[in-house]
Symmetry: C2
DNA sequence: TTAATGAATAAGTGTGTACTTATATAAGTG
DNA sequence: CACTTATATAAGTACACACTTATTCATTAA
């Protein structure tokens, strides 16, 4: 998944709260919702966004849907951020050195 | 800067385009805008968001404002993402091992 | 000081999206 | 089968925010 989609998915407090709940391990949609103040459909919609972004995976267990974080879904963003940071650090240092010569 | 603010700042294509321009080094507001299709005020507004998020720094040079990426502004998000990923990987592996035992 | 340049701010508008309620679907239980 | 539980989907609403044009501010130059 490209990193833009990942950022868009992470750029929402409710979705981050959902991920915070899933951080420690898998959880049903209902359990996720029980810790939030929004309605059940809202949770379902957010889970869909997270799923389409590749950040969470779903498996069925009877009437329940169990969600868990898929680490692979975060790889693209993590790589992009790391590379961006490296570039920024490099040009930051170059600018500092250029200042020193003045 | 907390990572939520950083994500919010990154969650916009125009701001990411601005950062893409600044990635290689510092640049004036006008130069940034010249590569984009949006108007000058829009660029200025986006630069303000990036500045308030701690992602870019501004310095004055005559009538121009020079912007550059501040690597430190990305540290919080990078750390959070790394820790989140670690946790997700850990519980992912635990779940795999639990499956193996069944 | 007047004009010109570069950028920020003010104010208004349209649209995307995060919600809501209502309803549908799916799976287990009596 | 009817009923309950768990979740998803449909449809509508409200608000945040990414834009716009108009204006202001700041700096340099004539």
């Amino acid at each position: 998944m490209n990193y833009e989609v990942t950022i868009d998915a992470l750029a929402n407090p409710t979705r981050r709260a959902i991920l915070g709940r899933l951080r420690g391990g898998a959880c049903s949609a209902g359990e996720i919702g029980s810790t939030l103040t929004v309605t059940q459909p809202a949770v379902s919609q957010h889970l869909k966004v997270l799923r389409q972004a590749g950040i969470v995976r779903q498996e069925r267990a009877g009437t329940r849907r169990i969600y868990r974080v898929d680490p692979a879904g975060l790889a693209g963003l993590y790589d992009w951020l790391g590379e961006f940071w490296d570039d920024a650090l490099k040009s930051y240092k170059e600018a500092m050195e250029a200042d020193d010569r003045n």
